[in-house]
Amino acid sequence: MVVPFVWQILTMFKTTAEATRFPPTVLPETFSPHAFETFFSTVPFWSMFGVSAGALVLRVAGQLAIASLAGYAFARIPFRGREPLFGLFVLMLMVPSQLFLIGQYELIRGLKLLDTLPALAIPGLFSAFGTFLMRQAFRTMPKDYEEAARLDGANPFQVFWHVMLPMARPTLAALAVLTGLYSWNDLLWPLIVSPSGENRPLPVGLAGLQGQFGTDYPTLMAGAFVCSIPLVIVFLVLQRQFFAGITSSGLKG
C-alpha cells in the first residue's frame, strides 16, 4: 500500500543519474538534496501554497457559513415553498460537477475574475451537498433548547448562532474537512480558471512541473512530496474528522 510512497521518498534523495539506472538502487548512494534545490529554485512554491491555502480557507469558511444558515432554515423554519426549493438542492446534488463547468467559467470570465484567487473559491462557496448535510444535522436536534432560547427573547439568528450551531459542531468539522480536501486536491477547475498560469494553486503548478522536468524524477518526486505533505499533516492531526466526513458523504461533493 505504501510502497509507491516509500519509493518516492527514497528517489527524491537520489541524483538524476542514479534514479534512472537499471536495475535501480534501493537506498540512495549519497543523500543528495539537489532535487529539493531544483524544485524550490524553479517553482514558486510559497506563492502556490499561498494560493491553495487562501482558496481553501475562503471556500471552507464561506461554505460552512452559507450552508449552515440555509440548512438550518430548511430544517427548522417553516416557509412557503420550502420543500420544492430544497428539492432543487437535492436535484443539483445528483448532477456531476462537469455539467456546471462551462457556465461557471463563463460567469467567472464575465466578472473578469480569471486568474484570480476568488475564482478558485467562488463556485465552492455554495454547495448543495453542504446544505443537505447541515439540514440533516439540524433536523435530528431536540427542539427544546431552541424553544427555551426563543422564550428568553432570542431572535432566530441568535438561536441559530448561540444554540444550534454549537450543537452541529461535529457535522461542521466533517464538512470542513471534506470541503478542504476537495479544494486542496482539485485540478480541473483551477486548470480552467487560471489560463495564464498566474495565481496557480499547487495541483496546477505541480502538473506543470512534469512538462518542465519530464525525466528528472528526483525533482518530480520531491515536488510531489512537498506539495502533498501539508494536507497529509492536517489529516494525521484531524483523522477522526476526516473519517467522519468520508462516512457522512462517501466523498460526494
Partner: protein
C-alpha cells in the same frame, strides 16, 4: 413567504406566548445566499450547458442553434466511443476493488490495536494530491527503470511500457484508481461493519461457525447496504476520472494519450482547450445520462442482492 401563525397542536399550551415560530422573513434571509449561489453557479450553468449542447458555439461570436447536430456528430465520433470504452473499462477495474475493500475492512476491524494504523495507511492515498499520486505512479510504471519492471524482472517477467503503451494504459490507471479508492471504501464499509450486532457472531460461534463462515454468512449479507452504497459511489466517481490522465499522459506521452482519453478528459479538451463549447456540452450531457443510467441500473439490481434486515 408568509409567516405561519398557527403553532403546531402538539406544543404545550403554556409555551405558546412569546415563543412563536420565526417568520418567513428570517427564513428568506437565511436561505438567500445559498439559493442565489445555487441559482447562479449551478442551476443556470446546468441549463446553459443543456442549451449549448444544441448550439454551435464558436470561440468568438454568436452561437447558432443546430438542433441535434452535436449529438449526431458525437455518435459518429470514433474518439468519443473510444473514450466511452475507456471510461467503462476503468470503471470495471475500480469495481474490482470493492470486494477487496470488503475483505480488508473486515480484517482491519479485527486487528484490534493495529486498526488505527492500518486505517491511516490505507487513507494516505486519499489525502495525497491526485496530481502527486499520478507522478509517483508514472515513475513506478516507467518502462526503462521503473519499480514495477524491476520487481517483474526478478521473476523473469519482461517489463512493459505500462503507461506509454496504449494496450496497458487504462489497466495501469485502473490499478492506481483502485489503490486510491481503497481507503475511502474501507472507511465507509468499516462504519457498516461496526453496526452489525456483536451477538450474531457470538451465537454463531457457539454453533461452531469459523471466521470464514461468519464472514460469508453474517458479515457480507448484513454489509450489503454499505457495499451497495460504496459500489454506487465508485461507479459515479470512476466515470468522472480526469486527473490521472492529465498528469500521466498529457504533455508527457501524446501517442498513448490519443487512445486513452476518458469521457471527462474529452469533455475538458473539447470545451476548454479547443473551445468547442457546444460539442463539449453535448459530451457533458451524455456523461450525465450515462451516470444516471448506471445508477438507475444499480438501484434496480440491488433488489436482488442487497439485504435490508
Amino acid at each position: 413567504m408568509t409567516s405561519p401563525t398557527t403553532p403546531p397542536a402538539r406544543r404545550p399550551a403554556g409555551r405558546r406566548a412569546g415563543a412563536s415560530e420565526p417568520s418567513g422573513w428570517w427564513a428568506a434571509v437565511f436561505v438567500a445566499p445559498a439559493v442565489l449561489g445555487l441559482a447562479a453557479l449551478y442551476v443556470w450553468p446546468f441549463l446553459s450547458t443543456f442549451l449549448k449542447s444544441f448550439e454551435d458555439v464558436p470561440a468568438f461570436g454568436p452561437a447558432t442553434f443546430v438542433g441535434m447536430d452535436n449529438y449526431t456528430a458525437l455518435l459518429h465520433d470514433e474518439e468519443f466511443w473510444k473514450a466511452f470504452g475507456n471510461s467503462a473499462l476503468y470503471t470495471v477495474i475500480i469495481l474490482l476493488g470493492v470486494p477487496l475493500a470488503v475483505v480488508l475492512a473486515a480484517l482491519i476491524e479485527q486487528a484490534g490495536r493495529g486498526r488505527a494504523i492500518y486505517r491511516v495507511l490505507f487513507f494516505l492515498p486519499v489525502v495525497t494530491l491526485p496530481v502527486a499520486v499520478g507522478m509517483v505512479w508514472r515513475f513506478v510504471y516507467n518502462g526503462d527503470f521503473g519499480l514495477l519492471n524491476t520487481v517483474l524482472s526478478w521473476f523473469g517477467v519482461s517489463g512493459q511500457f505500462w503507461v506509454a503503451d496504449p494496450r496497458f494504459t487504462i489497466y495501469a490507471f485502473g490499478v492506481v484508481g483502485l489503490w486510491m479508492s481503497l481507503g475511502i471504501n474501507m472507511i465507509i464499509l468499516g462504519a457498516g461493519l461496526r453496526a452489525i450486532p456483536k451477538d450474531l457472531y457470538e451465537a454463531s460461534a457457539l454453533d461452531g461457525a469459523g471466521r470464514v463462515r461468519q464472514f460469508v454468512h453474517i458479515t457480507v449479507p448484513l454489509l450489503t447496504p454499505s457495499i451497495f452504497f460504496v459500489t454506487t459511489l465508485s461507479v459515479i466517481a470512476a466515470l468522472q476520472m480526469f486527473d490521472l490522465i492529465f498528469v500521466m499522459l498529457r504533455g508527457v506521452n501524446n501517442t498513448a494519450l490519443a487512445d486513452s482519453k476518458t469521457i471527462v478528459y474529452l469533455f475538458y479538451e473539447k470545451a476548454f482547450v479547443q473551445f468547442h463549447q457546444g460539442y463539449g456540452a453535448a459530451i457533458a450531457i451524455v456523461l450525465l445520462l450515462v451516470i444516471m443510467l448506471a445508477t438507475a441500473l444499480q438501484f434496480r439490481l440491488q433488489r436482488s442482492w442487497v439485504f435490508y434486515g
